[in-house]
């Protein structure tokens, strides 16, 4: 009876909803499966698992030590993911700042010494590195332009040319190091000016 007449559409929609719920149930991964994916999957699988691990329920164990481990990973994509909100929301992102601010960036990237020697919390960066500049810019962009505000390490919102550099960096094309440096310093100077003005007028 219900299959005919004005209620048929309801039945179809209910079946669709049920199918969606079943698909979600089938695709669900518990914490153990997510951890396994994080430890043994491809870079994309690891990041997809990490995104859930850091957000599901009351996530714990993702402080600065975890970020440090990520930043020592041989895969640049994993190191760049350490810059995102998923990690930076747990603690003040000091280790991320240090990574970006390391003077000997190539050393820092390989986890040899730059990460430990760089002054924690120093303003990044005086000088963008010469080595692995594309990776550095992707990491810098993901960290300092993220949505979320200063408490998670964000500075200002992305500009058009920064987007262009990010797209070029994704394709590992050479980036204009001097132009980037000039641009970042100009933004820092403007931010400082705004802070000064805001302090006076408000």
């Amino acid at each position: 009876m219900i299959l005919r007449g004005p209620w048929r559409a309801h039945l179809v929609l209910l079946i669709l909803l049920l199918a969606q719920a079943l698909a979600a149930w089938a695709l669900h991964r518990d914490r153990g499966e997510l951890l396994e994916a994080w430890h043994s999957g491809t870079a994309q699988e690891r990041l997809a698992a990490l995104h859930v691990l850091t957000n599901r329920g009351q996530a714990t164990g993702f402080g600065q030590d975890f970020s440090r481990e990520m930043l020592a990973d041989p895969d640049p994509l994993i190191r760049e993911a350490a810059m995102t909100l998923d990690l930076c929301k747990f603690d003040l992102p000091m280790i991320q700042e240090a990574y970006l601010g390391a003077r000997d960036f190539a050393a820092a990237a390989s986890g040899r010494d730059g990460l430990n020697d760089a002054g924690l919390g120093q303003h990044p960066p005086g000088q963008p590195p010469t080595a692995e500049l594309a990776h550095w810019w992707r990491a810098y962009f993901l960290h300092r332009r993220k949505v979320g505000g200063y408490v998670v390490g964000s500075g200002v919102r992305p500009r058009l040319r920064e987007v262009r550099w990010f797209l070029e960096a994704r394709e590992e094309r050479p980036l204009p190091r001097d132009e980037i440096q000039e641009h970042i310093l100009a933004i820092q100077a403007k931010a400082l000016r705004f802070k000064g003005t805001a302090g006076k007028t408000r």
Partner: protein, 490 residues
């Protein structure tokens, strides 16, 4: 006597189609020219945030949250696809898509006007839509509004048709296809802006109430309401399930209430028509925010401090946002007088004749010919006049041309709903879903007046009272509007 909503209450006839298509094309052409004249402005506010989310989605392979918000994924997804395909030309591609999508807004505006007031009003509403600059400008800005309205307005049209058809043709059953279509469109619109989340159940109640002229709640009413809800749910549910998988919380599509409570139910005053000026104006320019009348904007005129902080210690985003909303509610309950006094300002900000177009002009954000004095000055004046004229005409049209019945209830529901959403954080952008309706009602008013129709004294008195309230709200925001205007015309 007011025009019956059903005397010409049919969809525009076939012979009018050419006119309507021509008007829609004209509106799209104007928007296309506007986009060309705008040049490529630097990314502003949420435009930049959406771009970041799109880029990180492409790069890392998942959709991240925004810490203070859980934005629906629709617009970042569109940008992500465009960036993947077109690279830096993605922004031009999305703007082109928005110009095309605006044609749907124009068409829906004309169809609703035709449904309510007839063909002549439909054409008039279409022309008004063509020229309504604050809305047109969103086709070259990277905000969700254009795509959202291109889904939301057709959904409203489907609902009106569904109810209108059953009333005029004396059918007991509203067309299933129209209701399903309305639900699907509303569900899709949620992926762009979660603002209609609570409107959908309200619309279901509207559908259920006295369906087909029967008793208050009937079997047919329940059928209509549940069909709308199920149709919307079937679109949204995959993302709800994704949210549950990621956050372990049931969250329909997104969440912004917590941050809006922080910004709107706290000591400070926020209005995003004004906030960018402080950062971008030189020290020699007057920040319009400093012109705001403090009595209506500032909480605690007696300097009592009750600022509350966000729940930063909670890492689960839905939990944190829910806690922020709870803290906001607690603040409002503890300070009822401050809450009431400052809500007047929210309402004033909602109807203030400002717009993001004006904001861009005042901040000198257009690098193209649109920012040149020859174009800027007349367009700034026009952008200021547009909402003033539309709101007044829409208000009079609503009060004097709509007879009691489901159509009037629907438009009243939508108006009250969107006005209520501005009670936390308010700005001109939030009233945009109502502006096509104001244009439609304004067109109905003008066409009715041309036909010599007169509303009853009671209705005109109600319209006059509402107009006086509107003028009072405009007076409330006058200082900052004048300050913005000064910057935009400089």
């Amino acid at each position: 006597m007011a025009v019956s909503t059903s005397d010409e209450g049919s969809a525009p006839r076939f012979q009018s189609t050419g006119t309507f298509v021509a008007i829609a094309l004209f509106g799209m052409l104007l928007r296309g020219l506007l986009a060309l004249a705008a040049g490529t402005p630097e990314l502003q506010s949420d435009e930049a945030n959406y771009t970041y989310l799109a880029l990180s989605w492409n790069h890392l392979g998942y959709y991240g949250d925004s810490y203070r918000y859980l934005w629906p994924p629709g617009y970042p997804w569109v940008l992500a696809q465009a960036l993947d395909i077109f690279g830096l030309q993605a922004f031009a591609a999305v703007k082109t898509m928005q110009v095309l999508a605006s044609g749907i807004i124009g068409a829906a505006t004309m169809l609703i006007a035709g449904q309510l007031f007839g063909k002549r009003a439909a054409a008039l509403a279409g022309l008004a839509w063509c020229l309504y600059l604050p809305l047109a400008a969103f086709t070259h800005l990277l905000w969700t509004e254009t795509f959202f309205l291109a889904l939301f307005l057709p959904a409203l049209y489907c609902l009106l048709r569904a109810v209108g058809d059953s009333a005029t043709e004396r059918r007991d059953q509203a067309p299933t296809g129209l209701l399903v279509c309305a639900g699907l469109l509303l569900g899709l619109s949620l992926y762009l802006r979660e603002v209609v989340l609570y409107l959908i159940p309200a619309l279901a109640l509207w559908l259920a109430w006295r369906s087909g002229g029967g008793p208050a709640l009937s079997r047919e009413g329940m059928r209509r309401a549940s069909l709308l809800l199920l149709s919307a749910a079937v679109v949204v549910f995959p993302w709800t399930l994704r949210n549950h998988e990621v956050y372990d919380r049931w969250l329909a599509v997104g969440a912004s209430m917590g941050e809006n409570a922080y910004l709107g139910l706290n000591e400070g005053y926020k209005n995003f028509d004004l906030t960018p000026y402080a950062r971008h104006l030189g020290p020699d320019k007057k920040d319009p925010m400093t012109a705001v009348r403090p009595f209506f904007a500032a909480a605690h005129l007696d300097a009592e401090s009750s600022h509350w902080e966000r729940a930063e210690e909670i890492h689960n985003v839905p939990d944190r946002l829910a806690e922020n909303a709870a803290r906001g509610r607690a603040w409002a309950l503890a300070h009822p007088a401050d809450f009431a006094r400052t809500r007047l300002k929210k309402l004033a900000d909602f109807v203030a004749p400002l717009s993001f177009f004006l904001r861009h002009q005042a901040l000198g954000r257009y690098p193209g010919p649109l920012g040149s004095p020859a174009l800027r000055r007349p367009l700034v004046i026009w952008a200021l006049l547009c909402p003033i004229l539309a709101l007044l005409a829409g208000l009079w049209g609503g009060f004097t041309r709509l007879n009691p019945g489901p159509t009037r209830r629907l438009l009243a529901l939508v108006t009250v709903y969107f006005s209520a959403t501005s009670m936390l954080v308010s700005m001109s952008r939030f009233r945009l879903p109502l502006m096509p309706l104001a244009l439609i009602l304004g067109a109905g008013l003008i066409c009715g007046s041309l036909r010599g129709e007169r509303a009853t004294g009671k209705r005109r008195a109600a319209a006059l009272a509402a107009s006086l309230l509107l003028i009072f709200l405009w007076w409330l925001d006058l200082p900052e509007v004048l300050a913005v205007l000064e910057l935009a015309l400089a």
